[in-house]
């Protein structure tokens, strides 16, 4: 069995796992600038390493209920691949730990961690309109 490291995060009552290799930094208390007129799913804009960073609500991207408050933690993550790769912020409630998941979990989109269901996020496809 092939395993890969994933960052386990909490989204309200749900758990999700992001490929650890796509994660650049976990930031608590990011200074967010809300943007009037922005689409659902954009929490706001921030500055990261001297560059503008769009911060998206991971729960909303995964089709879960939108939040009413700003997410306290931002996971700065690479989305896409190759020339299409870009750095975005993903707002979550909590970064829990790095765990190892079966590589097949990514294809399935889900896994079990400690008996709890976890949404396994495909960062190459996340945010692309179906």
């Amino acid at each position: 069995m092939t395993v890969a490291p994933y960052l386990l995060v909490r989204l309200g009552e749900s758990l999700a796992a992001l490929p650890a290799g796509a994660v650049r930094r976990v930031v608590r208390g990011t200074r967010l600038h809300p943007l009037p007129g922005a689409g659902l799913g954009l929490v706001g804009l921030a500055e990261f390493a001297g560059e503008p960073l769009a911060v998206l609500d991971l729960a909303q991207l995964l089709g879960q209920e939108g939040r009413t408050s700003r997410p306290p933690v931002t996971i700065v993550t690479w989305l896409g691949s190759g020339d299409d790769r870009e750095l975005v912020g993903l707002g979550v409630d909590e970064a829990i730990e790095v765990t190892e998941l079966d590589a097949a979990a990514l294809a399935l989109g889900q896994a079990l961690v400690g008996g709890r269901p976890v949404i396994v996020v495909d960062t190459e496809q996340l945010g692309i309109e179906p």
Binding site: P36, L42, A46, V88, I128
Partner: protein, 109 residues
């Protein structure tokens, strides 16, 4: 005005308008704004931009004209999250801002 982006604050966010779109900047009074919740309305000063080709836009402040912003074009992934007419993102003094395309409209709060 000449090239670059006119950087304005509107509804708490920073926006960059192509400077050639702006023909005049006029100080105006925005009736019924500026008071604390529950307090009587006051007449807060604001600025009105007269746009070349018609149209006006009220903003809270005009900050500067920036001619050498490092522009990050919007990807297809991010475009749907940003207001229509947004062309890219940039930073000004560490604060992120949205650059509007020449035909773009800054949304209301």
């Amino acid at each position: 005005m000449i090239g670059g982006f006119l950087i304005v604050r509107r509804a708490g966010a920073l926006w960059g308008l192509p400077a050639e779109r702006v023909s005049t900047i006029e100080r105006v009074v925005q009736e019924g704004q500026g008071g604390a919740p529950g307090a009587p309305a006051s007449n807060a000063p604001g600025l009105e931009l007269h746009l070349a080709g018609g149209g006006r836009l009220t903003v809270d402040a005009v900050l500067t004209v920036a001619g050498n912003l490092r522009i990050h074009p919007l990807s297809g992934r991010l475009r749907r999250f940003l207001p229509a007419g947004a062309a890219g993102l940039a930073l000004l003094a560490g604060e992120p801002l949205v650059l509007m395309a020449p035909e773009g409209e800054i949304p209301h709060a």
